[in-house]
Amino acid sequence: MGLLNVFHHQRKPSSSAKIAKERLQIVIAHERQHGRGLDYLPLLKKDLLEVVQRYVKVSDDAITMRIEKSEGMEILELNITLPERSESKSSE
């Protein structure tokens, strides 16, 4: 047993720790994004929609929003689908 262990010790480490680290990095990055977004995202979405609806007739589900994170930068992606023939609400 002892003799075998000498060689076993030299072997490349079985890196379940490496797998653990990678899994953690992914799940934590995801959760941090959600944790932050959840606070204000729905309210921001509602406010933005109200502003847009002041000028253009759009339905409540015409707005989509998501936060994307890349290379230390966060991008707020906002998508509003306008109706085919947008009628201006503003008076002339």
Partner: protein
């Protein structure tokens, strides 16, 4: 100036109470006047770890509800001067703990000239855990080198940044410290345990200490003596280093490298 320090983790069983007992005892040994409060209402255990379970007469909830004074409820440690324990209640009524009640007790400890109030948080993210961190100036987040406790530690760090009173009133944020418990350097070197560097890379919080996996911890809890009093033990010494760092000293991390075995031990040892 009293410092309120919460010991928290999210996940249960990672060593919050062991850490609360060791850190509070270490601070008291360093000459600070310390009160350690068990916030785990209904599941009191700090009294056992501190070895004062037979001297509990009144508890935290009795004080909050006015059935006892704080002086009556605080248990003075027999071996260590300036160390006082406020046990949790065994009531099943979780609502017995209130924000105002906690404030009242902490304010009174401040008036009485305590240097440190250590809040031993329950596991989870329910009311007890929130109240344990609510008045905190500093926090020790305890984690094990294991996926679920690291993930929960990250959750707690997020809550510590947003939930305590300091965050609510826009004061300077709660100072965060990380304590890695049950570390086994030999398992790290074989690649089967997350390393200190792995955990720090993920959590990005200043490291207060690394406590090695140690038989001394169970022996100390069996005997009801905070492990920091076992001066010869590795875990006791690692906790003593952590306390010194908390007080501003620079200490190198010990017990974090695998013990080098000689050829003889490697051939014939285990």
């Amino acid at each position: 100036m009293t410092k309120v320090l919460v010991v928290t983790s999210g996940k249960g069983g990672v060593g919050k109470t062991t850490t609360s007992a060791a850190i509070s005892t270490g601070l008291a040994e360093a000459g600070k006047k310390v009160a350690v409060i068990d916030f785990d209402i209904g599941l009191r255990n700090l009294d056992l770890i501190m070895g004062v379970e037979r001297r509990v007469v009144y508890d935290f909830i009795n004080v909050i509800q006015g059935d006892a004074t704080l002086k009556q409820a605080l248990i003075k440690h027999k071996e260590v001067d300036n160390l006082y324990i406020l046990p949790a209640s065994q009531t099943r009524d979780k609502d017995a703990l209130t924000t105002e009640g906690v404030k009242q007790v902490i304010d009174e400890l401040k008036e009485d000239g305590f240097d440190y109030v250590i809040c031993d948080s329950p596991a989870g993210i329910e009311k007890g855990a929130h109240l344990a961190m609510y008045y905190a100036d500093e926090a020790i987040v305890v984690t094990n080198p294991e996926v679920s406790s690291v993930r929960d530690a990250d959750r707690m760090l997020g809550l510590l940044a947003s939930k305590p009173r300091r965050a609510e009133i826009g004061d300077t944020p709660v100072v965060q410290h990380l304590l890695i418990n049950r570390y086994a350097p030999n398992r790290v070197s074989t690649g089967e345990m997350l390393s200190i560097e792995d955990i720090l890379e993920i959590l990005a919080v200043p490291l207060l200490g690394v406590i090695p996996e140690s038989t001394a911890v169970l022996q100390a809890s069996n005997a009801g003596r905070p492990v920091i009093l076992e001066k010869q033990s590795d875990a006791g010494q690692a906790y003593a280093d952590a306390v010194a760092r908390l007080l501003g000293e620079q200490k190198p991390m010990r017990f974090v490298e695998e013990e080098k075995k000689g050829l003889f031990a490697r051939l014939f040892g285990k």
